[in-house]
Symmetry: C2
Subunit: 320 residues, 2 copies
């Protein structure tokens, strides 16, 4: 008996907002979140998984709402001591957040998979939603820039997204395999695949670039619905709009439709972009207008519901 | 031109007190401290070196004087989060202290030696005294007990020294080699070797058990002077007296003399033990009475001076 799962592909902050909404709109066993691991990296020998952690902290109500990353009630004494000892201080690790990285690194070193560790930690924190890293093999997003290639966190945190982007590479992706828990959920006739309003290049693309991922998502028969991360020509969070401009495409919901065309069955755009409806429909992408700017929990739950409903309406029309 | 170095062998808290005194009594370039690494261990995948760290924190004035271990102005948010995540919480790691373990582990992993890392960290913290781990190879002190063998920190911290001790083993000691910086200092005609008032079984013995260490120390020609860690039948800190009782020898300064007899050239005992002078002299160990209980910095500096003076007087009488 199928539970009609909703499968959400998510990056960090923006994606996690919709994921939180979905977790309130659905019974926990109906939601499976696939997290981007392309921006995972090693820092001080610790394995850090920013997007997965943001989803974990968001769903366990531990996320810092002000910063948009890390934990609430955080302290920074470790970082003070790192500076005192002459260590690198461009990546901030809070004292509490550090516990997750230290325990995860230790478990990974003892041979546990990233999925296993993620599942364990989510369970300990009382999260009943399934959080599934896109793959268990290490993949490293590289941002190609006018200043040369940069590891993602170097581009994103250390360089504050300043260098001009020319392209992306996902190191190790050829050896990656879609997470078996995801494949199993896809075989179980899910109700919808949701692409959260995350950065299409560095949050969603690494997930889709895992060999076999696109086919597995398309072939499961569920409608694939994306929520545009571009609203009124701006990214609500992060460098998506800046990247689009540097790559020579206008930062608009229309370009998001073009980017995902052929893969998605529908796109949700913000009310501010309602005037793009016709243009998006004309390029062959069914479109739904909703309030996609999520200021509070109500907005998150509301958008989650609209996304699932839109998918249900699309389902009838899917022919593959 | 020799700088007439004083070489001190030290464990943790008790030893570090005398080391601090020596550092005030002597120019920095005259003092070299050899630290016990037998109680180093891996916890959460981090390499932790309790005795070396106690010496580092003591000499950089960062030591927590109340606990006797760890750093001053410490916070415990990491440990709170470890507990929240279901991690082991028997070994307390402060938020600031953690920076040292994380940075050291990272440098060791990149191929640097323990000596190199220790030297780097001491330098960053402004310590001009040489701090030299007894060896660069990993050695693990195992406490053999009536309940079976226990890793040192499991015995010391987790079990709070409760199990009855039957013996000791130093795993990996056969592959250890005395620290080259120590060997080099020994070749440079040091003025004295001081055995700090540290636990003879688990702080000093691992150092002396490094193959070639005893011979190198004896052959350098400098007098070897120990300061008794037993005062009035008690250990001022730690399980030394309890261990002696369990091993079937009275916890007394006389037994410390017997323990080191044949290796040391003189023993400093506390004023409380002055009545043991004759007995210790009779077993062939020259003895000096001093105030060895170090309550404040003056006491530390005073005992340091007495130790160096005693050694100077012994030097004339050494025949090897």
């Amino acid at each position: 008996m199928s539970v009609e799962r909703v499968i959400a592909l998510s990056g960090g902050v923006g994606g996690a907002k919709l994921v939180l909404g979905l977790s309130h709109a659905l019974p926990a066993e109906r939601l499976l979140v696939v997290t981007n691991t392309g921006d995972d990296f090693d820092h001080f020998g610790l394995r850090i998984c920013p997007d997965t952690d943001t989803v974990i902290y968001t769903l366990s109500d531990l996320a810092d709402r002000e910063h948009g990353w890390g934990r609430t009630d955080e302290s920074w004494n470790f970082m003070d001591a790192v500076r005192e000892l002459g260590g690198a201080d461009w990546f901030n690790l809070g004292d509490r957040d550090l516990a997750l990285h230290v325990l995860r690194t230790d478990r990974l070193k003892s041979g546990e998979s990233l999925s296993g560790v993620t599942n364990h930690i989510a369970g300990v924190l009382g999260i009943r939603v399934s959080i599934v890293p896109m793959c268990d093999q290490p993949v490293a997003t590289v941002v190609e820039t006018a200043d040369g290639p940069l590891e993602f966190q170097h581009y994103f945190v250390r360089e504050r997204c300043a260098p001009q982007v020319t392209g992306f590479a996902f190191e190790g992706i050829e050896k990656a395999r879609p997470n078996p828990a995801l494949i199993s959920a896809l075989e179980d006739q899910p109700a919808v695949i949701v692409i959260a309003p995350s950065n299409p290049f560095v949050s969603v693309e690494p997930i889709l670039a895992v060999p076999g991922m696109r086919t597995a998502l398309r072939d499961c028969g569920a409608p694939i619905v994306a929520v545009s991360p571009i609203v009124g020509g701006q990214a609500l969070k992060g460098p998506a709009a800046k990247m689009m401009a540097e790559l020579g495409v206008p930062a608009s919901a229309v370009e998001i439709a073009r980017h995902y065309r052929g893969f998605i069955d529908g796109l949700i755009i913000d009310e501010k972009d309602a005037h793009h409806m016709r243009e998006i429909t004309d390029i062959g992408v069914p479109v739904e207008v909703a309030q996609t700017v999520m200021s509070d929990l109500n907005d998150r739950v509301e958008l989650a519901g609209r996304t699932v409903d839109f998918a249900a309406r699309l389902r009838g029309g899917i022919k593959r």
